[in-house]
Subunit: 453 residues, 2 copies
Amino acid sequence: MTRKKKKIFSGAPPEKVAEDLKPLLQFKEKGMPLSELRALLEQHLFPHLMDYEQPQFQSMFNTVPEPGAKFGAVLNVQFNQGVTNWQVSPGGAMLEELCCKALCLLFGLALDSDATFMYCGTYANQQALYMALHRYAEKQGFDLNQKGLTGFKHPDKLYVLCSQDAHFSLRHAVRTLGLGEKSLVPVPVDSNRRMDEKKFRQKINELGRKHIFCAVVTAGTTPFGSVDPIAGIAEACINEDIWVHVDGAYGLAYSLLSEWEHLFQGKELADSLSWDPHKQFGVPIPNSLLMAKNEKDFERMTLYSDYFNPRQDPHPNPGLKSAPSTRPFSALPLVTSLLHQGLRRAKHRLRSPLEAVRRAALDIKKEDELELNVKPDTGILCFRVKPKDFPKEKLNSLQEFIYEHVMSQGEHTLSKTKLGEKTVLRLVAVSPKVQSRHLLETAFLCRTVAQTY
Amino acid sequence: MTRKKKKIFSGAPPEKVAEDLKPLLQFKEKGMPLSELRALLEQHLFPHLMDYEQPQFQSMFNTVPEPGAKFGAVLNVQFNQGVTNWQVSPGGAMLEELCCKALCLLFGLALDSDATFMYCGTYANQQALYMALHRYAEKQGFDLNQKGLTGFKHPDKLYVLCSQDAHFSLRHAVRTLGLGEKSLVPVPVDSNRRMDEKKFRQKINELGRKHIFCAVVTAGTTPFGSVDPIAGIAEACINEDIWVHVDGAYGLAYSLLSEWEHLFQGKELADSLSWDPHKQFGVPIPNSLLMAKNEKDFERMTLYSDYFNPRQDPHPNPGLKSAPSTRPFSALPLVTSLLHQGLRRAKHRLRSPLEAVRRAALDIKKEDELELNVKPDTGILCFRVKPKDFPKEKLNSLQEFIYEHVMSQGEHTLSKTKLGEKTVLRLVAVSPKVQSRHLLETAFLCRTVAQTY
């Protein structure tokens, strides 16, 4: 705690950052050499960027690229391949398709599963819900692509169930799908913040099973890292013919680890799964995937056009499986990362921060004036500072104070969230550099800061 | 025509490419050093990538990065900033916001306009339509975000008008918005393949003005590069209170050139505009923008969450303006490109291929056995090979033959599209390296290949 720390970012307030960046937005007729440009950025921009390399960065899912992934990403800048189809990149289009199949197998899905690279988990979730709704429409005898929601007998009764802790991208998804947020039904969680299976079944009965077209199981909630009971939910849904989507944007990677695998039991039963390699896998942003148990389900998205996606084209065409037309070469950095590291090191990279969180949680439990709020399933740690004899009604504002104070110093980052009525502090470990002592260091710092409240 | 050409890509058929790429998908426990990995890629992948640097690449909108943009993109790989909000990158979030404002001004929009970086034109168009629909719902007295399409009195009568040549991403958009393709109404084009203004007004009357919530004006159609009459359409829509979206994903950049500016007259009247800097601007994929005349319209997308996007946050937060949660640092390569080149060189970069296409079109018109099909507005050239006394009913299959033959050689790339019943060949010039002689070379090669039919 006494050593001099490097700042993670400047800690400057918005006005100062805006002032510093101004010269970068003055576009002039005459250009400048790259050396001059670099000097300008070093002075005006770099201090305000976040240094994810430092183990004191504990606020979010960001991390510096793994060297093998970085290698592939730099090649991508050089070649700048669009990989929508054969016309723009034969090797790119083919590697995307082969990589999708290989990843499905790596995650233990069946041989006739498939995947498509997406830009981010938000769009992956949106597409999964659309595919679910499309299948639901098909069973009612019409093509959603043509008729839209008005094809349903009861368009006002179309429900998606998810955990109350599910990601807000689902709210975006039901909005843009024309369903409105009224169609998204939150299910309460248990004491580990996992979706409560019993209450899930109750909800099905309440709403009427025939009106539920999709259930979203979160494998690693963003606020707490909890993994919903996939097998139990999937079983309930298969009986009712409800599409099961696993939102594993954050957590699915951990299903590759033998010690954590049990949490993800039943994932192979899901109709679709999303996963963000740009989180803990160390692949540069953006890199995201949507997998489907049944490859044919991607045809629900397919669109043909004369000049770009003609029918009966014998060439591979990743662009037929999702909406985006221009597509970055997402497979390359993921493939170079896995080849460079090998599976053993890739798994070690994933395991290390989870072990750090597990250990830090045990230690925090033993500490005075620190309260562990959720037993962590994966890499997120939620706690409160609770000084002795501190007035209960001021605890939330104390956590707010700690958060603001620590962030403004620029030496540690953390985040905060709500747990019912409680404001809690939240630490995230995604980089293998984050060890339990770094997490504890932040927690102890928070306790110290509380004394200045 | 006689000099030995470097291949643009291997020209190998899909089976051969798949076979070559196989070793890249065999993920093993043990990794390999980067030097070994590079050798593997050089042998197995690189020959099958497309070399956009060569002026014989004329099939699509792809190009190699402009050096200043490349510089920024490599920094992005290094820092890997997510720029959703202040917690993950103070400097990144702020630069995104300031850059959006600066770009609106560069494109001549009003002071209270704003923009948001999107992943691609497809999602930009989708969001524009959603914002349009949201405003339309607001006028009918309800919040689309909450109630969805069932809030409308006539959800079966919600129409979007667009050119018959508009991009297929609009079909994706109406599908995912729950409207179905039935809601997308194509308007016929004139002889320059621009949306016909008179027929547009007729369509409004036919469908009933009150049922049309959006008109999409394409500024640079993807098959022909034609620019719809923005001012005329916008005028008709403002009177009827219809949202005007300009899909300028391909063409909008050319409005920065004084010689082409007149084609884009009225763009400042549009409610929203999309633009892809990852096309001719030479910024690496993905880089896309959605602009709005009225910055307040982005609030239609806003979602708050306790842990990530809290209400009343004093910090800049690009994530409030569109659905994606994880966001790449899109502003950086665009800013470094404009600073390095300066506006003069950036404009020269844009102008050069347009001049090449204009010149080549004049020359093709004079050639025997070549038929120019559309007078080009921007950088796309459509023509057919029409040998003397060739049977009319076989002309389409001749163009197909030429396309397949040229592509399989790997020395030139081109594309094909439909013009009514006619199959036509299509050349695209986005790189400043493509000069009129390169376009003519491809056209003459096509004529030569026709002799072997």
